[in-house]
């Protein structure tokens, strides 16, 4: 979707302000928000892609005003309610109504290390990759209706396949409960002038990691 999270190339956000000696957390509630989000994701009801989409549907005026962990909490409440773990009323009052169905996959302290270090989850597919390193490709221009990992600034642009990165669940489908539908993933690099016009004489190259259906071979 063309939502506020898709920030590449937008203007008006001012300078980057690195904070000297930044603490890991700025408030105690951020610690709990991080932990709650990871624990809830271990319930297994939603995928990372659905989780990302839950952040992206926060209204733009709220999203851009929120701190990052505030965005996480907004998304988490959406997901918990959507999947029936809590009701709207419970979120409002904080008081449990009745007991939840027993859940088998509660994250316990002795499972945390493994959860944080589980590593890659590539999914094997039978199709061969359509593209090879060196291929000149054009990215899809269509405006997506739901979640996508093709940023707005890189749509309808010509770039080069640099690497085949394995096959993974297709985020655009997986975010909407349509299953993993794995696809090949490619690193596609663009020259700055292709993305930002001839004024970009900056000697820059930008790459994205693009699923196969984001790409078409460019006309020679």
């Amino acid at each position: 979707m063309n939502d506020p999270h898709d920030l590449g190339g937008q203007i008006g956000f001012g300078l980057v302000n690195p904070e000297a000696a930044e603490p890991v957390f700025h408030h105690d509630w951020e610690k709990r928000a991080l932990g709650l989000s990871l624990c809830a994701s271990c319930l297994g009801a939603w995928t990372l892609d659905e989780c990302r989409h839950a952040y992206e549907i926060i209204p733009p005026t709220d999203y851009l005003r929120a701190s990052y962990y505030e965005i996480w909490m907004g998304g988490l409440e959406t997901l918990l309610e959507r999947h029936g773990f809590v009701t709207c009323q419970e979120l409002l009052t904080g008081i449990p109504e009745g007991t939840a169905e027993p859940v088998s996959c509660i994250l316990r302290p002795d499972m945390v290390d493994d959860m944080l270090a589980a590593g890659p989850t590539e999914l094997v597919i039978s199709d061969k990759p359509r593209f090879s390193p060196g291929d000149r490709v054009v990215t899809r221009k269509k405006r997506p209706q739901g979640h996508t990992r093709l940023p707005r600034y890189a749509r309808g642009k010509t770039g080069f396949v640099e690497a085949i990165c394995g096959s993974y669940a297709f985020a655009d489908a997986n975010a909407h409960g349509k299953g993993p539908s794995p696809q090949w993933l490619y690193t596609v690099a663009f020259h700055g002038s292709e993305l930002w016009g001839p004024a970009s004489s900056d000697n820059i190259k930008v790459s994205i990691d693009a699923w196969e259906t984001y790409l078409e071979l460019a006309r020679q």
């Binding site: 190339g9 980057v16 302000n17 904080g94 944080l116 589980a118 990992r149 790459s207």
Partner: protein, 191 residues
């Protein structure tokens, strides 16, 4: 926000969905165990051992895991090497993808609209705000983490690194250099 988060934790704990001790463990992990020192150890090893650097280039996930740092579920690592001609910078314009296992949790500026919006379009001015100025001949290569790959920048080593031990080298490696917004020797060492 404090009250809202506390209320949600109380609610989920009461419903038997969340174990607060697991949250404590997650917080303790990122406050005391997992941070940029992990990445610094990877970089120092890459500077010290050619074979390890080659392994990082071909299979960063396995090479990094061999030092005991495993990424979260779904995540594959990729190491990108700075050279005299190319300087690498990492961003996630769509959210905040970041290599937690080697760098810890991302700093606020990495997640900010200012960084995410500008570094793909005008990386030189963003780098200047971090005190990094590169010649026009140096190509800046920006990696936007749009999928499940997480990037670690391997900075160029400091002069005289050949005679230094890994521990000493690791002390010179900053978090910012491993994101690509710092250079070795340009700032404070990794705490």
């Amino acid at each position: 926000m404090e009250a809202r988060v506390r209320a949600l934790e109380t609610l989920l704990t009461a419903k038997g969905l969340v174990d607060s001790a697991a949250i404590d463990r997650i917080v303790e992990t990122y406050e005391t165990k997992v941070g940029p020192r992990n990445g610094a150890a990877v970089v120092a090893r890459a500077w010290s051992e050619t074979a390890f650097a080659a392994w990082l280039k071909t299979d960063a996930t396995a090479a990094i895991a061999s030092l005991g740092f495993g990424e979260r579920r779904g995540t594959r690592m990729r190491a990108v090497f700075n050279s005299a001609d190319v300087h690498n910078v990492v961003v996630c314009t769509l959210c905040s993808c970041y290599p937690w296992a080697v760098l810890g949790l991302p700093p606020v500026w990495y997640k900010s609209p200012a960084y995410r919006s500008r570094v793909v379009q005008d990386p030189r001015s963003v780098l200047a705000e971090f005190g990094v100025s590169l010649s026009q001949e140096t190509q800046i290569r920006v990696w936007d983490s749009t999928a499940e790959l997480r990037y670690l920048v391997i900075p160029q080593p400091p002069p005289g690194f050949e005679t230094m031990g890994e521990t000493e080298l690791a002390r010179l490696v900053t978090r910012d250099a491993m994101i690509g917004v710092g250079l070795i020797g340009a700032g404070d060492a990794t705490p």
